[in-house]
């Protein structure tokens, strides 16, 4: 087995995802099957190959840079317009630190 139910719960914790028991059981099966397929990569000796972390590798290192010129920001009101619980110009969240 590639992944146990306990590991599924651990990964769900890392991903901040609450899962029902039924989902844990289902994902254990799904991930086990998918990770089994991914083992196929071990057939390949990739020892000397360079990881491809960007696509346009022929471009110069500075190709992705733009001049650092300040531009007007979105603005507080627009940025908060979709917030589920805005207040006093901020995003409000449940209490984090007990005083």
């Amino acid at each position: 087995m590639k992944i146990t139910e306990q590991e599924v719960r651990y990964v769900a914790g890392l991903a901040n995802l609450s899962l029902s028991d039924a989902e844990v059981a289902r994902f254990q099966g799904d991930l086990d099957q998918i990770l089994g397929h991914m083992d196929k990569l071990n057939e390949l000796d990739t020892g000397s190959a360079a990881p491809m972390s960007q696509v346009l590798y022929e471009a110069a290192d500075t190709a992705t840079l733009r001049p650092d010129v300040p531009a007007p920001p979105l603005g507080n009101q627009a940025a908060l317009a979709n917030a589920p619980d805005p207040g006093a110009g901020y995003y409000k969240v449940p209490l984090v630190i007990e005083r």
């Binding site: 990569l41 071990n42 471009a59 209490l95």
Partner: protein, 479 residues
């Protein structure tokens, strides 16, 4: 005016000859789209005010004798993962059901600056994750060609709208085949340009190193026109490319004599199906037009699915971390702590496929597994890109199927995620390499289901790709 079969050229001609005004066309297109939409559910919502305002700007330009733009008055549908200021953008997710973006994607700005008229936003798999549009939180889309079948995915609504005639062209997004596969299922052209050719600014991120915006159209020429409008460097997307944008329609001269086409040996075993035999007929048609066809090898093809589903899910698990109940409209009620609020919002908000991919991506990035999965997958990705570079030393373009099968029935494949992933084999290799690829209609099966042929070229080789697809289309495809 036959609204369901208009082309960009016909609209331009009609506007400049003052046979109709852009506003009249927009109103008529909206009426038709809204009336006909229930058949397929291609659109999630419409943006009539925005459409009519854009059309009026076109009319004003024409009245002043100014050039109205390459897409003047053209009714466009936009996949609901591309943000539109003031127009709801849901990404097919319950989490963003009420999200109203405060800005426009660069592709949207460019479309409207060229006179495009955005009619509305189209349904898709949640956060563009899927191959059938059945993963949308707002219900599936039906294929206009066969209503009991899926339109493909994830850009199923954008493909369906163009096939149905409720838009002249549309925008979709493609990460592992999400434009090409629905284009093939619905019998229209769908283009995934070179990675970085079109700015991703305002495209909701799924897998940033693989995401593309691209057009759907009923003709190759219309697809080429739309790409010409939305392509180009954008300082707001650091991965957008500096390379100049040619007028792609200049390449559409029907002359493909002497072009060298490669048929990957590794794909041949999958080409014995009915879809495969149509692709073979397509290749024969291209040979009759004067192309030289030879077998080539893409030796790492068998490793593409594994590499893709590691890289794409790893990037997705990072990109989707932002939907935590703080900023984006939806928050789980009654969570006592911040951590519970995050977990419950995400647990209640994401659908099964998003959760599956977030889990997979988090797993392959987690401590102890990074080298074995993510790093390994990136190395394999490099080998797959090298396969294509070597192929393009020998040939001008690669010709391949888009999907192993035509549109399947709604519900037929929802219970087997791995089988669904494996069916992406022909589209994923090009996505990993970041090269331009498109699907062009290549006949229909005995049941009348469309099949698409894929044409892939080297980085920034879109002109060659369009030239071949257009010549094929002019010659009548496989008929």
């Amino acid at each position: 005016m036959e609204i369901a079969s208009l082309t960009i050229d016909q609209i331009r001609e009609g506007l400049l000859a003052r046979r109709f005004r852009a506003e009249e066309l927009a109103a008529e297109a909206l009426r038709f789209a809204q009336a006909d939409n229930p058949k397929t559910g291609a659109y999630l919502h419409f943006s009539p005010e925005r459409a009519l305002a854009a059309a009026r700007r076109v009319d004003e330009k024409i009245a002043r004798g100014e050039e109205p733009g390459a897409l003047a008055g053209v009714p466009v549908a936009v996949k609901d993962v591309i943000v539109t200021r003031g127009v709801r953008t849901t990404c097919g997710s319950k989490l963003l059901e009420n999200y109203i973006p405060p800005y426009d994607a660069t592709a949207i700005e460019l479309l409207e600056a060229a006179g495009g008229v955005i009619l509305g936003k189209t349904n898709c798999d949640e956060f563009a994750m899927g191959s059938s549009t059945e993963n949308s939180a707002f219900g599936p889309v039906r294929n206009p060609v066969a209503l009991d079948r899926v339109p493909g995915g994830s850009s199923g609504g954008s493909a369906a709208a163009v096939a149905q005639g409720t838009a002249v062209v549309s925008l979709g997004s493609d990460t592992g085949g999400s434009i090409r596969q629905p284009a093939s299922f619905c019998g229209v052209s769908g283009v995934t340009p070179t990675y970085g050719r079109v700015s991703r600014y305002g495209l909701t991120a799924f897998a940033s190193s693989l995401d593309h915006i691209g057009p759907f159209a009923r003709t190759v020429k219309d697809a080429a026109r739309v790409l010409g409008v939305i392509a180009g460097r954008d300082p707001r997307d650091s991965t957008s490319a500096e390379a100049p944008v040619p007028d792609y329609t200049n390449a559409l001269d029907g002359n493909v004599k002497g072009l060298k086409l490669g048929l990957p040996r590794e794909y041949l075993k999958d080409m014995t199906s009915e879809s495969g035999s149509l692709i073979n007929r397509g290749v024969e048609a291209l040979r009759r037009l004067g192309c030289e066809v030879r077998e080539i090898s893409l030796p790492h093809t068998d490793y593409a699915i594994a590499s893709y589903y590691i890289i794409a899910t790893a990037e997705a698990s990072s990109n989707l971390a932002r939907y935590d109940g703080v900023r984006y409209t939806t928050r789980s009620a009654d969570s006592a702590t911040l951590a519970d609020m995050y977990r419950n919002t995400r647990g209640e908000g994401f659908g099964a496929e998003c959760k599956r991919r977030i889990m997979l991506g988090t797993y392959v990035l987690s401590a102890g597994y990074y080298d074995a999965y993510y790093l390994k997958a990136q190395k394999v990705r490099g080998l797959i890109a090298r396969d294509f570079r070597q192929a393009f030393d020998e040939v001008d373009a690669v010709v391949a199927p888009v999907s192993p099968f035509p549109a399947f029935r709604l519900g037929e494949k929802v219970d087997d995620p791995l089988a669904m992933y494996l069916s992406d084999i022909f589209t994923i290799t090009g996505s990993l390499a970041g090269i331009p690829c498109m699907s062009v209609p290549c006949g229909c099966t005995a049941e009348g289901l469309p099949v698409g042929m894929q044409i892939l070229t080297r980085h920034f080789g879109e002109s060659t790709m369009f030239k071949i697809a257009d010549a094929f289309e002019r010659a009548g495809g496989v008929n």
